[in-house]
Subunit: 367 residues, 2 copies
């Protein structure tokens, strides 16, 4: 066992390159308290465009803090999507040890691990507060670690967008029938749910959305929330902006770390990463919450966007389709079923508490 | 300016005792990367009883993490209320430098700083998510720092209970008239609001509540939420358990640091504290959310507690009284008014975004 581990580590060192682990140059014993003598030069690749606000900026902030907290010894260089690794190869790159860290969202990897969707967001699933409670204090993170373990990855929650918007539509949606035949950019499980309503779900990278919507190649698209959607200029290509984001009600972003790289770290650096990732998780959510509201105001008042709530019948039907989609996925994949069951068990009691705490309080504010 | 600072630091060192700052014993230059050569032995006093779950446990977890992250160099000894400093002297003790750190809640100090209530919770104010967005990303924390500055304190958000419960009552509350003449343990602004409804608000420490309620010395009490209330055995002394906690809809707990002690720290240790406090902020909220629901189940099903929602008329009247109380306080104190105005300005846009995100989504789940 020990020998195998050493061998794996040696293999890993080869993979990440000789320059990435540098002895600190201190004789053993000169720092009796501090166990960490090595210096680490790590690479972190993300699934986000360079300078993507909050997402990429949040990752850079994390890396900067980790470097300072470690006294400059754990130096993480951050690369945007494509600068080193294409966005959709992040998972494999970290898994194989080409880089030590990745940042993205679990549901990008549902082709490999269908159950990974639960660690980001599922349609009509838990919001940010519910997800954090499940992950940190309800067994969710332990399950996530278990599911990613065969892929040689250690995951951490790091970032949350809060409730997203439902998307931009070129025509009004007044009934489920209005969805039929629409071409909509909507990935993952949300796309599968929409397909049941007769939508033709389309996959497009962020950079392609505006042109496709403007030219009418697609009729609708979801993206993030007011702050990011304003930057993408979507209000120039579609007039109706629907809420709520039933398909992504509080997506958790993920930090993934190559297991051997993680195990190489002294305990103090592991804790520095863990605390910085958790802090970053909350910081990013707070940024989304604080920035969305200004953009919402601009979209409504400056650009005269019609901000509309999905009709109740549409929501009820999509919720029904969601239950069908999740049940179908659970039949196809045992791991999906395992996580789905754990998620549902936690969620049931979470909803019961939420009903008399957040939901009752929200009602009290509007009475 | 420099000399004054040095003098203040020397003064501070005298105050906290000669043993609290110990040179690490390393010759300068042996750790070229790591600026921190000193070892710090700090004291943190809290307003919580020993072993108070989540609250005191969360603080101990924070101190343990900070110690490990700093390679053992920033060693924080945690003391419960009364072990070193009585709970209600925490603010002064940290302000004067008798200890370097404190943990409690801003609204404990409203006798000194009425505006401090806004940094914890005010009746019918923002919930945990709103508070975090305001503090971290909406200017709230900068304002908090400014308000605490004359007291020589640097505050950090560190913990949140989520929406609390409305309290335990020995008789049913069916109208505002039923509140009249009740003796209720409810501190701070919530007590002032209740007084307008004819309640006689009483101050009692946690350890005195159960006996007072059981003997009928008081007719009602608020405490925290299901998890803590179950432990206090309140279900044996009162039968009706009301929600929501309109008076404390997401109280933020605080870490305070003596300013000179803070300024003595190398930047890397400051960042370690900041990240650990933010991580702790989210962790404590997640723990509250996850534990409350099990206790709620036990209270309802095992102890046959009647869990009831405050009638709409009662809520509406209390909300009206709250507006009156806050306006009265703003007239009495310029700092209160300043923070109240900033809070309201942020809150207005926060509510607008919340209406189409969290509130609309919560509705979508219940349609």
């Amino acid at each position: 066992m020990e020998d195998k581990k050493k061998l794996q580590r040696r293999e890993f060192i080869k993979k990440v390159g000789a320059g990435s682990l540098v002895a600190g140059g201190l004789a053993a014993g000169t720092t009796p308290v501090r166990a960490a003598r090595k210096r680490f030069n790590w690479k972190l690749t993300t699934t986000w465009p360079p300078n993507f606000p909050i997402f990429q900026d949040g990752v850079k902030r994390f890396a900067k803090d980790v470097k300072k907290m470690s006294g400059g010894k754990l130096n993480i260089s951050v690369f945007a999507s494509g600068e080193l690794i294409p966005a959709m190869q992040t998972f494999d790159a970290v898994s194989q040890g080409s880089v030590q860290m990745g940042h993205g969202a679990g549901y990008y990897w549902i082709g490999k691990i269908p159950a990974a969707a639960f660690f980001t967001a599922v349609p009509f699933g838990m919001n940010a507060q519910g997800m954090n409670a499940w992950l940190y204090s309800g067994g969710g993170l332990a399950l996530w670690r278990e599911i990613y373990e065969p892929f040689n990855l250690v995951p951490f929650p790091m970032g949350n967008t809060g409730v997203q918007m439902g998307g931009w539509f070129r025509k009004k949606i007044e009934s489920v029938a209005d969805l039929k035949g629409l071409k909509m950019r909507i990935p993952g499980l949300g796309g599968k749910v929409m397909a049941k309503a007769g939508v033709n779900p389309v996959l497009l990278a962020g950079g392609e959305i505006y042109t496709a919507l403007d030219r009418g190649t697609i009729d609708a698209t979801e993206w993030v929330g007011p702050f990011h959607d304003e930057r993408l200029g979507l209000y120039r290509a579609a007039k109706y902006y629907y809420y709520p984001g039933w398909h992504e009600p509080g997506p958790t972003l993920e930090l993934t770390i190559n297991r051997e790289a993680w195990e190489e770290l002294p305990k103090e650096f592991q804790l520095i990463i863990e605390n910085a990732a958790t802090a970053s998780n909350l910081w990013m959510l707070s940024e989304f919450e604080a920035r969305n509201l200004d953009s919402l105001h601009t979209l409504k008042n400056k650009y005269k966007v019609e901000v509309l709530e999905f009709p109740a019948d549409v929501i009820k039907q999509l919720r029904q389709y969601t239950a069908e989609v999740l049940d179908e996925e659970a039949k196809k994949d045992a791991t999906f079923k395992k996580v789905y069951d754990a998620y549902n068990a936690y969620r049931k009691t979470n909803d019961a508490w939420n009903a008399i705490s957040e939901a009752s309080y929200a009602k009290a504010l509007r009475l």
